[in-house]
């Protein structure tokens, strides 16, 4: 994560493969009816329908795999469980992400700004990034049982380092010459911060925060799965223990839908806003 700094190579979660990348090609002069089939919209929907069909076929062919229809029926049947459990997990995530945002940006900024701080924490952050969330989750269950502190602790300790690394890169990307010039012309510190430091760093912070949201979400689900009495992760574990693969897959589907919704509705627009001052996007798209 944040590994290939300054080198080519794309992290699929970070690339600009959002909807803005897929724009319909204007149809050619000869508007034949089938030319629509070659458009991007047609391609996207063909892929979606094909994926559903393949899932359905796999489900009918193999007993263990539930079909999308069964999963849909399960979710309708247990619709009253959906909102309360999603709410519990989202609430936990909100608390954890507040902690992550405050600690991550402050420490990341300090590491980028002052080199003694950077060298003091660099290896510790490296180790924390290398640690998998699920071991923390198991430890949290052993330490606190079903207590609410478990998910928040695990989410914070596994997602904050990601934000720290990104914020640190942002703080180091601030134009040094402009800063020296500001100092020479006695620009007030607050103004420097607002006009120079913040615009540079915000892009890095938001990009890192997007990863952190994903990591925190996964971490909370893990703790809920291993030891909790409510939440989306608990529901998946509950239906697994009840021997219902359909229930387990259905709740796994909920985990995915909620995080994709958060990413699309909240994170992506914010990320695009922080990048709007750039002349061109930095994605791999041609």
């Amino acid at each position: 994560m944040g590994a290939a700094e300054g080198l080519p190579g794309v992290d699929p979660r970070d690339s600009d493969i959002d909807r803005s990348d897929v724009i319909d090609v204007p149809l050619g002069e000869t508007r034949r009816w089938w030319s629509f089939l070659a458009s991007d919209t047609a391609a996207v929907w063909t892929a979606r329908i094909l994926a559903l069909l393949i899932w359905q076929m796999a489900g009918s062919a193999i007993d263990r795999i539930p079909t999308p229809i069964e999963v849909g029926e399960f979710l309708v049947e247990h619709a009253d469980l959906l909102l309360p459990n999603i709410w519990v997990t989202v609430q936990t995530a909100a608390v954890a992400l507040t902690i992550i945002l405050v600690v991550g940006t402050l420490l990341g900024f300090a590491m980028g700004r002052w080199w003694p701080v950077r060298y003091f924490f660099t290896d510790l952050v490296m180790v924390l990034i290398a640690l998998p969330a699920f071991i923390w989750a198991l430890l949290a269950v052993m330490w606190w049982g079903f207590d609410d502190i478990g998910p928040i602790f695990v989410a914070s300790i596994s997602a904050t380092p990601i934000l720290i690394v990104n914020t640190r890169q942002g703080a180091q990307a601030v134009d040094g010459d402009l800063q020296k010039m500001s100092a020479a012309y006695n620009v007030p510190v607050m103004r420097q911060f607002r006009k120079l430091v913040l615009p540079t760093m915000s892009e890095y912070i938001i990009a890192g925060f997007r990863f952190a949201v994903l990591a925190a979400w996964g971490a909370i689900l893990l703790v809920e799965f291993f030891g909790s009495e409510e939440g989306i992760g608990f529901q998946a574990a509950f239906w697994y223990d009840a021997g219902s693969f359909t229930g387990m897959i259905a709740w796994g589907f909920v985990m995915l839908v909620v995080i994709v919704a958060i990413d699309k509705i909240v994170m992506e627009p914010v990320l695009r806003r922080t990048r709007r001052w750039r002349a061109e996007t930095t994605g791999w798209s041609m």
Binding site: G2, P12, Q172, V189, G233
Partner: protein, 281 residues
């Protein structure tokens, strides 16, 4: 107002030989980094000594002793080899499937739109969902972890190969066409050299995550490997064993990243951005 890091970054005294690498900043750097590690260990030792019972939080010394004992037992190497084997199987499958997808995505607009959602979705699936899927489809088996590692690595391979194809020199390609070079020659001398570094970048980006996912899937349902051992520590309620395996885990990832991936990456990309200041993290 202190100067920015970039203005402070000046080369060490160039006297030659070893002395050239030693500067005041370098010494401070090593000292601070050691200080950071030691203060963390100190905090840990203090907490286990005064704040918690030893079975809740064993001291770092007890953990090291336990690690040595586990090493002598021989189960560490066995578990890591087993997990590495499964990860590599998943990796091989991901390259085999992701490479053609990436080539198509880099070449055809239609393919890019077609695989767009798949790549985005696979990259955003929480790891626990992968583990659940593996458990449902394969139950307790060795294929499950390999399968989900494949799913996790696939988008990184596809999108990096696509970026590699896009980065291939268009001038060279049209020149080859003018001189009537056949497709095989163009692929060999233009496309593959452009794609290969990106493939390695995909390895670099996904290595830690794929390893974590592999162990997690083993925790959910497996009878061998690192994740299985960690799960055993959990079911026997042994914080000591869990912390020991955690340390092995970190040591393994740091060694692979620092000793294998980072140097090979620097060598492969040396021609790309000469002199790029890379403040190591």
């Amino acid at each position: 107002m202190s100067a920015t890091p970039s203005t402070l970054r000046r080369p060490g005294l160039r006297i030659g030989g070893l002395a050239g690498r030693i500067s005041g900043r370098g010494v401070a750097r090593v000292a601070l980094s050691l200080l950071g590690g030691l203060s963390f260990l100190g905090l840990w030792a203090a907490l286990s000594e005064w704040a918690f019972e030893p079975f809740v939080l064993p001291s770092p010394f007890a953990v090291v002793e336990n690690m040595v004992a586990l090493l002598e037992e021989g189960i560490v190497a066995e578990a890591f080899l087993k997990s590495l084997y499964k990860t590599m199987m998943g990796w091989g499958a991901a390259v085999a499937i992701g490479l053609p997808i990436g080539l198509l995505m880099g070449r055809f607009r239609y393919a890019r739109a077609f695989f767009h959602d798949l790549v985005y979705l696979l990259a955003n699936v929480p790891l626990v969902v992968y583990a659940v899927v593996s458990l449902v489809i394969f139950g307790i088996s060795d294929i499950g972890p390999a399968f989900v590692v494949m799913l996790l690595v696939l988008p990184a391979v596809a999108i990096n190969v696509a970026a590699g194809v896009a980065s291939a020199d268009q001038g060279l390609i049209s020149m080859s066409r003018s001189f009537r070079r056949d497709g095989g020659t163009v692929a060999r001398y233009v496309i593959i050299p452009a794609v290969l570094p990106f493939l390695l970048a995909a390895a670099r980006v996904t290595f830690a995550d794929s390893w974590k996912l592999e162990a997690l899937t083993e925790t959910f349902g497996s009878s061998s490997g690192v994740g299985f051992q960690i799960h055993k520590a959990f079911t026997t309620f042994s914080v000591l064993d869990a912390l020991s395996w955690m340390m092995f885990f970190v040591i393994f990832i740091v060694i692979v990243e620092r000793v294998l991936l980072a140097p090979s990456e620097r060598r492969i990309f040396a021609w790309r951005n000469p002199g790029a200041a890379r403040d190591s993290m």
